[in-house]
């Protein structure tokens, strides 16, 4: 009985970490992760603007970042959420979706002005320093 209770507690703890109800802690973590993707995308866009990277690298790496941001957007818009923070969570989902869209544009190795504009928009979205 005690073992079963311990197992249930462990499963509950793991579920809370990985895709259970979104609480304040999970929202903060996901928000930081989404900002991180935006800031990394901004670095990449900056290098695209300067011509100091390769097409293949940009296509693959920006694609990975975009895919991860898109996954966050889907998860945050679908996962059950504490009612008190639901609006914030859905807003974060929209933000992740917008960042995924910007990263998809970086992936296409745009020309310098577009790349610089994407960099600025990603920096703003991600609150990058």
């Amino acid at each position: 009985m005690r073992r079963a209770a311990l197992l249930a507690a462990l499963v509950a703890a793991l579920a809370a970490c990985n895709g259970g109800t979104v609480d304040q802690h999970a929202l903060k973590q996901d928000s930081e992760a989404v900002d991180s993707l935006a800031c990394e995308g901004a670095l990449l866009a900056n290098d695209v603007g300067k011509g100091s990277t390769t097409h293949n690298f940009v296509e693959v790496h920006a694609g990975e970042l975009a895919q991860r941001a898109s996954n966050f957007a889907d998860a945050l818009s679908e996962r059950p959420t504490l009612p008190a923070i639901e609006r914030e969570v859905r807003a974060e989902a929209r933000k992740a979706g917008a960042i995924a869209g910007l990263l998809d544009q970086v992936k296409k190795y745009p020309n310098r002005p577009v790349a610089e504009s994407l960099r600025d928009r990603l920096e703003k979205r991600g609150g990058c320093s």
């Binding site: 973590q29 990394e40 670095l43 100091s52 390769t54 293949n56 296509e59 790496h61 970042l65 320093s129």
Partner: protein, 407 residues
């Protein structure tokens, strides 16, 4: 001429020091804690020197590699548990390294990932089958030296050198103790990767080391691993100076390469990708052989990378099967970076199982004669046994508490 040969060997060892675990944990630790955990790399590098030197000495004096010694010292049953644990960790590491090779090829070529996994497996199989081991060691070791680009990147990012120096003094400037400890455990695990030691001691037996080669063994272990440790420092400094500043969590191998691209440009990116490709490719081969060595030594089969397949058929079949299993694992779509994190943590858990028998054998006068552990070796050996046991017992709880370092 001999000094030149030794220098070449050490160069190859330096280039071959870094594997996917070092790349992932050092950069991530820098991105989260800045330079605070540099001291752990020093502890890890001294640990792998102590462990390797003992294994090399046992190999040179008794002609026994790690799993020969394990089976003799702890018996069949306990030895079998150790073997299974070592092989599981080894296979996880191999799969992660193969996945890393495929990711690097993809970042360089833009070709589809799954085809590149297949290409990586076929390529590694051909290299192991066709190329002489001496050349494998040279090609991958020297190719891995391209990772020196991260040392240049670290300097060009203008880190706060005072903070870097302070990182070599153990301290904890964070409220998240569990996460700090998780990364400390991961960095130790990444530095003290067991497959490197299985590979090293088996190589010693194959190359016919004798007690007269003990000086060479010591020089290889001390100089090779110490200089290799500088790669780890450079990676962590890049993590701290670039990613921590920007609030970036480097979750992809591409992020690590970006660490060289941002300060150096396209040349930096290409050198980083080539360096990672060779380092991870070389580690794949080491891991592959280590798995085959372990099994063959434990069951008393013929083994040896210098032997023709017909001279050691079960050894050859073992590495082929391991390669096939790694292919199956990576093809499931598992993320090699996440797999690396698990592999490193589980390798720490299993580490005492092979470390303790080697420490006991190295202390056994009946085995080692006058080459038994001296006072310094014993103090260090026992101190590291305590460290390894503590780290082994706390690794899984820390992994659960921190959600594998996600906080």
């Amino acid at each position: 001429m001999k000094i030149f040969k030794i220098a070449l060997g050490i160069l190859a060892a330096i280039g071959g020091f870094v594997d996917i675990g070092d790349l992932v944990f050092n950069v991530a630790a820098g991105a989260i804690f800045g330079y605070q955990l540099l001291w752990v790399v020093v502890v890890g590098v001294v640990g792998i020197i102590v462990y390797s030197e003992m294994c090399g000495r046992v190999a040179a004096v008794s002609n026994k590699a790690v799993f020969d010694a394990v089976r003799e010292r702890v018996g069949f049953r306990a030895g079998l548990v150790t073997l299974v644990a070592a092989q599981v960790v080894n296979l996880m590491t191999l799969a992660a390294e193969v996945g890393g090779v495929a990711i690097c090829l993809r970042l360089l070529s833009g070709l589809p990932y799954r085809w590149l996994i297949l290409a990586a497996i076929v390529g590694l199989g051909i290299v192991v089958w066709v190329v002489s081991f001496e050349w494998i060691e040279r090609i991958f070791g020297y190719g891995g030296l391209c990772l020196l680009v991260f040392a240049v990147a670290a300097v060009k990012l203008h880190p706060d050198w005072g903070a870097v120096a302070h990182g070599y003094v153990p301290h904890m400037d964070t409220e998240d103790t569990a996460l700090y400890l998780f990364f400390a455990v991961g960095l130790l695990g990444a530095a003290m990767t067991p497959y490197e030691v299985y590979f090293y001691s088996s190589g010693g037996v194959e190359e016919g080391w004798k007690p007269k080669d003990l000086g060479l063994n010591r020089a290889n272990a001390i100089i090779g691993y110490s200089l290799g440790g500088f790669f780890s420092f450079a990676l962590m400094i890049v993590g701290g100076a670039l990613f921590l500043e920007q609030g970036i969590q480097p979750d992809f191998l591409g992020s690590i390469a970006l660490g060289a691209e941002v300060p150096i440009g396209e040349v930096g990116l290409l050198l980083a990708l080539i360096g990672i490709l060779f380092a991870v490719g070389g580690a794949s081969i080491d891991t592959l052989f280590a798995g085959a060595y372990n099994l063959a030594q434990f069951f008393g089969w013929e083994w040896g990378r210098y032997r023709h397949a017909s001279g050691a058929p079960r050894f050859t079949l073992t590495w082929m099967v391991l390669l096939g299993l790694a292919l199956a694992i990576v093809m499931t779509g598992v993320d090699p970076v996440q797999l690396t994190e698990y592999a490193v943590i589980f390798s720490v858990v299993a580490l005492p199982l092979t470390y303790l028998p080697i420490l006991l054998v190295a202390n056994d006068r009946a085995y080692m004669g006058k080459y038994v552990n001296g006072r310094v070796s014993n103090v260090l050996g026992v101190a590291y046994l305590v460290v390894i046991l503590a780290v082994s017992l706390t690794a899984i709880p820390l992994m659960i508490i921190t959600n594998v370092g996600q906080g």
